[in-house]
Symmetry: C2
Amino acid sequence: MSYFKHHVFFCLNEREGGEASCAPRGAKAAFDHCKAKVKAAGLAGPGGVRVNKAGCMDRCAGGPVAVVYPEGTWYTYVDRDDIDEIVESHLKNGRPVERLLLAPDIGR
Amino acid sequence: MSYFKHHVFFCLNEREGGEASCAPRGAKAAFDHCKAKVKAAGLAGPGGVRVNKAGCMDRCAGGPVAVVYPEGTWYTYVDRDDIDEIVESHLKNGRPVERLLLAPDIGR
């Protein structure tokens, strides 16, 4: 079994020269919000959920992006409501949020 | 199938006050070395390997640490030889490096 049941990585990267990237699209606020919600829900810790900062994950065109392992579910999100839904549906109840899934062909 | 066959996250965090953490133990050099080796081996990219920066993954007592997803294999490493072995054995040939596995009870 995985050390964390769900290990979530938020890209917080900012690219130079106005190229598409996650930081200018609210990634840090979403990360902070997700971390607080997971903690408040009592999900944080070994055997539970870890919400993690990450550098560029090379899928910038779909940013802001986050990925949940070990299941390998990639998300693109817009606002706090999206994060709340990911926490409630996926991280708490194990049901990925279909409407927020990153399309498989989205790369850098 | 996972977007990346192996997605490797290196903790590059530095904690305050002299607490155990990964940055002072050579994590950035190991990350750079791993990224360069993966690229040189032609393993990088979608369907292949991604070597990623990450913040604290909360297993600081075993630092420096890295984790490979989706398999959820946690490593602790010392030098470039360790990284070379992870790249060659695990990332290239799918065989985890037993001697470098992080003990399951190692936390913060």
